[in-house]
Symmetry: C2
Subunit: 335 residues, 2 copies
Amino acid sequence: MSSRVASAPASGEDSLIARYFKPIATDPGAFALTDDAAVLQARGSDIVVTTDAIVEGVHFLPDDPPETIARKALRVNLSDLAAKGAQPAGFVLTLVLRTADDAWLKPFAAALGEDAKSYACPLLGGDTVSTPGPLTISITAFGRVPVGKMVQRRGARPGDRVVVTGTIGDAALGLDILKGGAVATAIAADAAARQALVGRYRVPQPRNALAAAVRAHASAAMDVSDGLAGDLTKLCAASGVSAVIHAPGIPLSRPAAALVAQRAVDIDTLIAGGDDYEILCTVPEADFEAFAQDARRAGVPVTPIGAVIAGSAIPSFLDGQGRELALKRRSWSHF
Amino acid sequence: MSSRVASAPASGEDSLIARYFKPIATDPGAFALTDDAAVLQARGSDIVVTTDAIVEGVHFLPDDPPETIARKALRVNLSDLAAKGAQPAGFVLTLVLRTADDAWLKPFAAALGEDAKSYACPLLGGDTVSTPGPLTISITAFGRVPVGKMVQRRGARPGDRVVVTGTIGDAALGLDILKGGAVATAIAADAAARQALVGRYRVPQPRNALAAAVRAHASAAMDVSDGLAGDLTKLCAASGVSAVIHAPGIPLSRPAAALVAQRAVDIDTLIAGGDDYEILCTVPEADFEAFAQDARRAGVPVTPIGAVIAGSAIPSFLDGQGRELALKRRSWSHF
C-alpha cells in the first residue's frame, strides 16, 4: 500500500477539485461535485454520448498553454455532438495528472469553465488520478436529440452532395509550424498567418451552431478529426456508398491556399492531416438550398465539395482536370 | 506531423476496435462502434453518470491479468451506480495504451464483454489513444433512476443507522500481498486466504443487487473506494452530520479477522485502505428492518456499524471499551 499517498480526510485530490472545478460545476445535477455521480435529465430526449481523450505529445504539445488544452479537450467532444445534430447537455472530465500544479490547474479550469458556459455544456463530474506518464484528459460529453433523431454516419445515398464546413487542413499546418517543420520555414515572414494556423490546431471551433441544420437536412454526418480523406472513407463505408470529390473545390484558408500555390505543401497534407473539427455531411440534392440557407443564418460557411456515388470503392479525389489524385495517405491512426 | 502514424484507411485503431470491441458492443445504441457517438435512451428516467479511471501502478499492478483489469475498470463504476440506487444502462470506454498488443487486448475485451453482459451494462462506445506512459482505462458509466430519485451522499440524519455491505479491508490486504508486504509474510502458509484477498483487490464485487433496496430505504449512500473511514467522513460532511462507529462491529472476512487477531495488521489498515467497493449507507431506524429484509432477498450481507449523530466533528471509531481509536490515516489520495 506504500505507493498510495496517505492523507488527511481533506485530501489533496478533494481540495484540488473543490478549489478549481467546483466553481465551474454550477449545474444542479453536478451536486457541486460532492457526490459520486451526477444526474443528467433527459427531458424526453435521447442522450447522445461521445468520448474523446487527448494526450500530451499526441493531441497537444507539452508547452501548449493550459487554457488551449482545456478548450481543445472539451471542443473535440462538442464537435462530435454538433455533427450528430445534438444540443450540448453536459460533460464529465477525467484528468490524469503527473502533479497537482496550481499554476497549471487554475487557468485550465477557468478556460474550461468559460467554454462550458458559452457552449451551454455544464461540467457534471469527473475523476482525478495521478500518473507518472503524460498528461491525459478524457472527456465524455452528452447531448440531447429528439428520440431517434441522432444523425449517423450511415445514411448517405448516391446523388447526395458532400459538404464540409469552414476550411480544411489549417490545423495540420499549425501543428507542423509548432514542430518547426517545412511549413514553419515557408511561412516565417507572415506572423498573422502563423498565428491563425497554430490557433486552428490548438483551439478547434466546433460547429454547434449548425447542429439543428444538420439534423434537419443531412442524410449522414461526422466531424473531421482524423483527416478529411480518411473520415469521408469511414462515412462512405458506414453508408455502403462511395464518393467523388472535386479537390480544387475543398475550401482552404488564405494561408493554406498560399502554401499550396507556392508548393510548400501538397493537398495530401491538408486532407489527411486531421484536427479540423469541421463537419462533413451529405445532403440530398433536394435539401441543399434549405440547408445552405440555415447555415447562412447560423453563420457557418458550408461548401459542397463533391457527390455521393454508388459502389464500395474508396472515395476518389479529382484534380482540376478530372484526374484522380494518388493520395499517399488518407488519415492517421494511433497504432 | 511526423509523430503521427500515417496509415491506410483501415487504420490500426479502427481494426483494433472492430476486432475486439465490436463483438461486445451489441446494444443498438452503440451502432456497432461505427459511429462517432452512441445513443442512450432515457426511457423516462434520470440518467446517473459516473466516471472512474484506473491507472497501471496505481489502481492495478503491471502484471495483473488483463481479465481482472477489465473487470475492475468496469466494476468500480458499477459500484458507484449501485450506491446511487441506479440500474446499469451502459458505459463508454477510453483506453490509453502503449501498444496495441493482441495477446493483451483479446482477453481484456472478452472479460469486459462478459461483465457488460452479466451486469446488463452494454458497451456504447469509446476512444483508443496511444501513450508512452502507463496503461490507463477511463470508464464513464450510466444508470437509470426514477426522476429525482438518485441516492445522494447528503441526506443522512442524526439517529440513522450506518450500514456497510460485505466485509471491509480485504482489498487493502490483497494489495499488500501482491506487493510482498507484511501481510504476505503473515499469511504465507494459507494459500486460500491469500488468493481470496488478492481476488478482492483485483476484482471488486459491486453490489448492484442492492440498488433497489438502497433507493427504497437509504437516506444517503456512497461506495467505499478510498477507505471506509475517509469515505464516511465525506458522506457526513455532505450531509452536515457526524457519526460514531463501533469498530469491533465492522464486518471482517475470516482471513482479515485472523490477521487482526494475530496483530499482523491494525484496524487502520483495514478501514483506510480503499478498494473495498462495498456500499456505505445510512438508513433511518424505522426503515432498517425492511432494508435488512430486502438485502437478504437480494443476497447481500449488510451490517449496521454505528449511528449518525448531530454535529460537524469527523466521525469517531470506538474500540470495544468505547475509547476513541486514534487513526493514523483515514483514506488515501492521489496528490
